[in-house]
Amino acid sequence: MVSVTSKIDCPSCKSIIYQKIDFPFAFRCSKCNNSFEVFSSEKINDLGIKYNSLNFFSLLKIGDLGRYQNKSFEIIGYVRSVNSYYISNEWMILFSDETKKWLVEVQGSYYIFDNDNKKFITENVKFKKAESKIKFNDKNFVINCISKQIEFLFEGQIELNSVNPTQFFIFDMLSELGDEIATITIFDKENVEINLGKKVNINELNLENINNNNWL
């Protein structure tokens, strides 16, 4: 399983944080609810993000263990992105070989996204609407949702570049063949990224805590 590399102290309440990912990263302290960006064990800054702690339904939680494609993983972080259409629950999963992916849940459907956002050409998304087609990696995608992030919250540990509390546009897309999905994130004119994923059945993740779930 994931090895614990080192410990740091929460600058606010002195709780011990077991570091799961490399610098730079962000964490939210489960004791004092303050959020920090961590560049090194000596350089820790308060992110200044304040938000409510929520109570909501979820099959998953930070610390859950599972196995996907023959690799064990641990859920180490969580992002809740509320956009103008839906709520996206995004779980950072850290595999035993130190690679990371995002396990995303939207309205009870689950998706696995790669953790390597690629640059995208801004011109290619101009004037696009739902049902418009966009080509990427020689594959046709169809836009199925255009939305705008309006709320951001995170828990646990995530990579620092995943902390995006601002408002930005999101283009969700389905491949014409139905085998892949993609999300284009438009932070500003110069900063557009695309991320590829695919739909998964939650049972494929062999999560330890849902084996006896009475909804199975």
Partner: protein, 420 residues
């Protein structure tokens, strides 16, 4: 620190009317609607705050109450919301229930005129060509295009509930399945649905009663017990059995010629009886066929024939008439009739018989020789035809009923293939 919990009932009070509002998914819900005053609340950020969205109070009560747990196809669902929907510009409405299972996600159960269907979102994009949509090599036919609108709602919604939105809907059917697209400027959803009989919903959700079905449902299957494809296979099998029977019976018929002779017909013999020698009919009780062959041309010739049992005196009468005409009209050759005739008597017992033949001809016809043949135990193809007609009665009835059923199904569609 946020709490990730199981599905559990949470009670809130409406700030407008103080009614009790039950929620089950906490802040996983984007919006929650009061069952009494239809006030819409935002809940996504943890606060239960009244939104600016306006919604008319519900005119109809849901058949399935919010929070009811039911089972469809062995999957357990909790009922999260109920929406009364209408086609924009019309008066008729239908029910839409949002069902949720944490493992399998959302499903939408709809009811119109007592007909139920369960729809789930799909990630494939069907290929739409004209009035057809193709999904996994199956062709669905366009049934309707319209804009839907919300006419009332209650419960909790995992997405941003927009009561003012009027999405463009396209529905394609391949009973008992349907694929449907819902499109707005910013959103496109494809769903695939399947028909469910009222009892499946009643039993699945432990309901006291469900509305009776009215008319034919949009994707109601024609026959629940077996499919048309299976029925067609049975028909092909029956046709093969019928064909085999024809060949076998033809092979079993002995077709034994028991009498053959030529009779000269002239002005002196016409209308007079001709007696044949005796002959034996064997093989128990079988049919006999008498045939008259002539060379008549642009005229007619007739022969009355009586088969007489020497011992019992039983008789079997036949009338044989041959007429054949040929000519040219406007340079075109034409012909009418035949120069031979044959008749069959079924169930003739074995024994010694003779024939009495009384030929007749018009005076204009020259002398002519007619050939008379009596054959025992012949294969009668018309029997097979009768059997075929009998066999076809049920399939014809089945397909007639099916056509009527399909016409009724498409009655409410602007794209019916049954309209002239």
């Amino acid at each position: 620190m946020s709490t990730f919990s199981e599905i559990k009932k949470e009670i809130k009070n409406c700030s407008e009317c103080n009614a009790v509002i039950e929620t089950y998914l906490g802040s996983s819900s984007y919006n929650v609607i009061c069952p009494k005053c239809s006030c819409v609340y935002n809940y996504y950020d943890g606060w239960f705050i009244k939104s600016f969205k306006k919604l008319k109070p519900l005119k109809e009560k849901p058949i399935i109450d919010i929070g009811t747990i039911g089972v469809i196809d062995k999957i357990k669902y909790i009922t999260l919301s109920f929406v009364l929907k209408k086609e924009s510009g019309t008066d008729y409405s239908w029910h839409e229930y949002t069902l949720f299972n944490p493992i399998y996600g959302l499903a939408y159960l709809t009811m119109y005129n007592g007909h139920w269907m369960l729809l789930k979102e799909i990630t494939e994009i069907p290929n739409v060509e004209g009035r057809s949509a193709y999904l996994n090599n199956e062709r669905f036919e366009l049934y309707s295009r319209y804009r839907s609108k919300v006419d009332g709602a209650v419960g909790e919604f995992l997405f941003n509930f927009s009561p003012d939105e009027k999405p463009q809907i396209e529905e394609f059917i391949l009973p008992p399945y349907i694929i449907t697209s819902e499109k707005t400027e910013d959103n496109l959803v494809w769903l695939k649905g399947e028909y469910y009989a009222p009892n499946q919903i009643k039993n699945g959700f432990n309901l006291v009663d469900v509305p009776d079905r009215i008319g034919v449902g949009q994707i109601q299957p024609y026959v629940a017990k077996f499919k048309t494809k299976f029925f067609k296979q049975v028909l092909i099998l029956l046709a093969l059995i019928w064909g085999t029977m024809q060949v076998v019976f033809d092979g079993l018929a002995k077709e034994e010629v028991v009498f053959k002779n030529y009779i000269n017909v002239n002005d002196s013999t016409t209308g007079k009886d001709y007696y044949t020698n005796s002959f034996e009919l064997k093989h128990g009780t079988k049919n006999v066929e008498i045939t008259m062959v002539t060379s008549v041309f642009n005229s007619w010739i007739y022969a009355g024939a009586t088969l007489v049992n020497e011992k019992t005196g039983d008789v079997y009468d036949f009338e044989l008439e041959a007429e054949y005409y040929h000519g040219y009209t406007d340079g075109e050759s034409w012909s009418e009739g035949t120069n031979w005739s044959s008749k069959v008597a079924s169930s003739v017992p074995e024994g010694t018989y003779y024939l009495i033949i009384r030929p007749e001809k018009p005076t204009s016809l020259n002398n002519m020789s007619i050939g008379i043949t009596l054959t025992r135990d012949v294969f009668i193809s018309s029997n097979g035809l009768i059997l075929l007609i009998l066999m076809a009665i049920f399939p014809a009835y089945y397909f007639y009923k099916q056509r009527k059923f399909e016409e009724n199904r498409w009655y409410n569609s602007n794209y019916s293939p049954y309209e002239d």
